[in-house]
């Protein structure tokens, strides 16, 4: 793993992937750590790289270490030591004096307001504050191996907006889940069934770890609205994705064309209950209490946090997408999302998964940006390599 993705300290230049030598590092049957966490931060400068950060070891982070606690002190000093202060992105002329630009008065962007992750060329995600909210309570945490289609972990959590510090909770939860999902699966004999069962077990563990991390962010035990968030996670391995969710953030499988676009997750929401009872989707998703969720992570979570899990064969070119309701509020049906992706791709906005995620965030913002918007994408090509005899559906 590389550095803390939201740290203001930039990641070191991506080192060439070292060739594995026999006897050094894990062998073919051993753990296969997944590289992750290169963060795209277009609005931050690149301070001089005088120190090469020592990558923390996976699994050594405590939930508190990875919780968002505002500006990281160490990172701030790196920021201040920068030879030239950063230029205001709004006017391109001023500098930030006291949280505001000294030329145009624009508010200094909080790094938490817009987070991008691009762990591999085929996996990327963006989490954005949107237009109406005062902070970004969504979170994204990704990990992927470099080779297309080999192995990736995607997590999106949406902090519940009327709870305390849910922006800290969602990020802590997402990262804790990623840490768990990022461990190699104990696939036993390696049959598709064994891989699927191992992934489902891992998703359950990830939910528990995320829940513990969210609870660890509680600062006031008597808080009537303790921090809480949703969970969506996906493990892509070989030609299969195993996914799970708690709450109303979603996972879609969106082939580039043809039938088969579908929502994989199952909302734990009042709206979903109404749809199940026969109400039209559109009516339910825009009606009263459409955004009330019936399950969430946190100290006041319901007892049963078993995620809804399912798997999908990634047997065609397309996108596996995780997103918060900040996106699907403006485009809910899988087929509509498929068409939206086709349009954005046609406009040349799918250069990388992160670029496409940014385009989807722009789409939601242009539609009103009423909520935080988070999108995580994994690209699937037709000739997905199979690893461990990946499932064929």
């Amino acid at each position: 793993m590389t550095g803390d993705p939201t740290s203001l300290t930039p990641p070191p230049p991506a080192p060439p992937q070292p060739e594995r030598e026999p006897g050094v590092g894990p062998g073919p049957g051993g753990p296969a750590p997944v590289s992750q966490g290169n963060v795209d931060r277009a609005d931050l400068p690149t301070p001089p790289q005088t120190v090469t950060p020592t990558p923390p070891v996976a699994g050594e982070e405590s939930p508190l270490d990875i919780g968002w606690t505002g500006v990281v002190p160490g990172a701030r000093s790196a920021y201040e030591q920068a030879p030239s202060a950063p230029t205001c992105p709004a006017c391109g002329q001023g500098h930030f004096l006291d949280g505001y630009c000294d030329h145009c008065g624009a508010k200094e962007p909080d790094p938490r307001d817009h987070i991008e992750e691009s762990p591999a060329t085929w996996v990327g995600g963006v989490s954005d504050i949107g237009r109406r909210h005062t902070r970004n309570e969504d979170a994204v945490a990704l990990a992927a191996e470099p080779a297309l289609g080999t192995r990736a972990v995607l997590v999106v959590c949406d902090g519940v907006s009327n709870t305390t510090d849910s922006h800290i909770a969602s990020l802590a939860g997402a990262r804790a889940a990623r840490t768990v999902l990022d461990q190699p699966l104990a696939t036993g004999v390696g049959t598709p069934e064994a891989i699927r069962a191992a992934a489902v077990r891992r998703l359950n563990e990830a939910v528990q770890a995320a829940n513990a991390a969210v609870i660890a962010t509680v600062t006031d035990r008597a808080d009537p609205t303790p921090p809480s968030c949703t969970f969506t996670g996906a493990v892509v391995t070989g030609g299969t994705a195993v996914v799970g969710n708690v709450g109303d953030s979603r996972i879609y499988w969106l082939p580039d064309s043809g039938d088969g676009a579908r929502q994989l997750s199952r909302d734990d929401s009042y709206a979903a209950d109404r749809i199940a009872s026969g109400v039209e989707r559109k009516e339910a998703e825009t009606g009263p209490m459409a955004h009330s969720i019936t399950r969430w992570l946190g100290i006041d979570a319901p007892d049963d946090l078993t995620p809804h899990t399912t798997e999908v064969a990634l047997d065609r070119a397309g996108w596996l997408m995780l997103c918060s309701d900040g996106l699907w509020n403006y485009c809910s049906e899988a087929s509509d999302l498929q068409a939206l992706l086709a349009r954005l791709t046609g406009e040349g906005r799918a250069g990388t998964p992160t670029e496409l995620a940014r385009a989807l965030v722009d789409f939601a913002n242009n539609a009103g940006g009423a909520d935080n918007i988070t999108v995580a994408l994994a690209r699937v090509e037709q000739a997905a390599p199979t690893e461990g005899d990946g499932a064929h559906g």
Partner: protein, 425 residues
């Protein structure tokens, strides 16, 4: 050392498309009193007393007593002078053929008190001459010292043109501060206010000559307590914004907008004069290009600076919202000071119209003043207004001009109009 704190009171939420941001910035000084903040000579004090013929024997006698009372308040080590004025001006103390100052000590105080007993009532009134004489005296002192004058007059400025007075006032701006007092009812409030306002001082009415000594003592004691010579209010506004106005709104109303000096292209400096341990409120209004709902930006940085050192800063913000509950609220400080400024303008315009014989306009303006004072629960102003108009209905502002008005009552209303009631947090 003096410490300053600045805090902003405002509703930062703007409705979609709104552009104007209003804030009251309260600046509080501590450790600024003369005793603690001063080192070396405390400052320069010049006492200017009207010795025109209209002062008469009684007025001159009381003028001497007032000058004496002020001299007794000037602390040892302070540089000082006394100027007597009619249609000319001359330096009564220290007696010398060229402008100059004396250092206060027991001998010089006794000598100065002896000198002011020699005042004679004679000649006319040309306050511009007095100011120019005072300026020459002040300019013999180091510019870093706090410079303050007390000016006393009893009559209108009849022996020079308004332009001459204006020129004299302008030449003194930034050289010294002046608290101005008019005794009796034959002086012009607007004329003397013009001097006090430009020279960062106060204007007030002394109804009877016997009250002068007490007033001079109070004024000089207040001046002695000011340990910070010159502070500047600075207002930064973003590129593309327009500073609509900058007003001191407490303890008195003073529009500083036109006194801007450019600190840098985005920052204006406004003079505030000397400070004691006190707080003052400023109303700053900035017009911004509207941004979209959800956006936030800084509308102004309001700072208190001494020399080039910024001692305190308050931030004025703007956040666009489509939540009416947030955007419709008017900050209570902004609302009350806006109302008090409107009240002052209504009184002054009404009295000016009345003096010019435009009774309809006077009735309408003073009626509006009655209405505003009533809405604000400003009983003191209402009772002052009652001496000038008969109030039929305070809620609608229906009034009649009184047939018989004491000139002093009218002048008291005029001078009181710019004194504001402090709005607490």
């Amino acid at each position: 050392m003096a410490d300053f704190v600045a805090e902003a009171f405002q509703n930062e939420f703007l409705a979609d498309g709104a552009t104007d941001v209003h804030a009251i910035v309260r600046v509080t000084a501590t450790g600024a009193s003369g005793a603690t903040a001063q080192s070396g000579p405390g400052g320069v004090e010049v006492i200017i007393v009207d010795t025109s013929g209209s002062m008469g024997v009684r007025g001159i006698e009381q003028g001497s007593l007032a000058a004496t009372a002020a001299l007794q308040e000037i602390t040892d080590g302070t540089l000082f002078a006394v100027i007597a004025g009619n249609h000319l001006a001359w330096q009564v103390y220290p007696q010398s053929p060229v402008p100059g100052l004396a250092v206060m000590n027991p001998q010089n105080r006794a000598a100065a008190m002896h000198a002011v007993r020699g005042f004679r009532a004679d000649g006319g009134t040309a306050m511009g001459q007095w100011l120019l004489a005072a300026r020459q005296v002040f300019e013999t002192a180091p510019p870093s010292l706090r410079r303050h004058a007390i000016l006393l007059t009893d009559g209108a400025n009849e022996h020079e043109t308004p332009d001459q007075l204006t020129w004299a006032i302008n030449s003194c701006v930034g050289v010294f501060q002046a608290d101005c007092r008019g005794v009796g009812d034959r002086w012009q409030v607007d004329e003397v206010r013009r001097i006090a306002s430009a020279l960062l001082g106060t204007v007030d009415l002394i109804p009877r000559p016997e009250q002068m000594a007490q007033e001079f003592e109070t004024l000089m004691r207040a001046s002695m307590s000011r340990g910070v010579a010159n502070a500047e209010l600075r207002v930064w506004a973003p590129q593309g914004a327009q500073v609509l106005f900058v007003k001191q709104v407490s303890p008195t109303l003073e529009d500083l907008t036109t006194r801007r000096r450019e600190v840098n292209p985005l920052t204006g400096g406004y003079p505030t004069g000397a400070w004691s341990d006190e707080d003052r409120d400023y109303h700053v209004a900035v017009r911004l290009p509207a941004k979209s709902v959800g956006q936030e930006q800084l509308a102004a940085r309001v700072q208190l600076a001494i020399g080039d050192e910024v001692k305190a800063q308050a931030l004025v913000k703007a956040k666009w919202s489509n939540d009416d509950a947030l955007t419709a609220r008017i900050n209570p400080q902004v609302a009350q000071y806006t109302g008090q400024a409107e009240l002052a303008a209504a009184i002054q315009d009404g009295l000016a119209a009345k003096a010019a014989g435009r009774d309809d306009e006077a009735t309408s303006k003073l009626g509006r003043a009655v209405q505003l004072a009533n809405e604000a629960g400003n009983d003191e102003m209402t009772s002052r207004l009652k001496k000038v108009v008969d109030i039929e209905n305070p809620e609608t502002g229906t009034v009649r001009l009184k047939k018989q008005v004491e000139k002093l009552d009218e002048m008291a209303l005029d001078t009181a109009s710019t004194k504001t009631t402090r709005v607490r947090k």
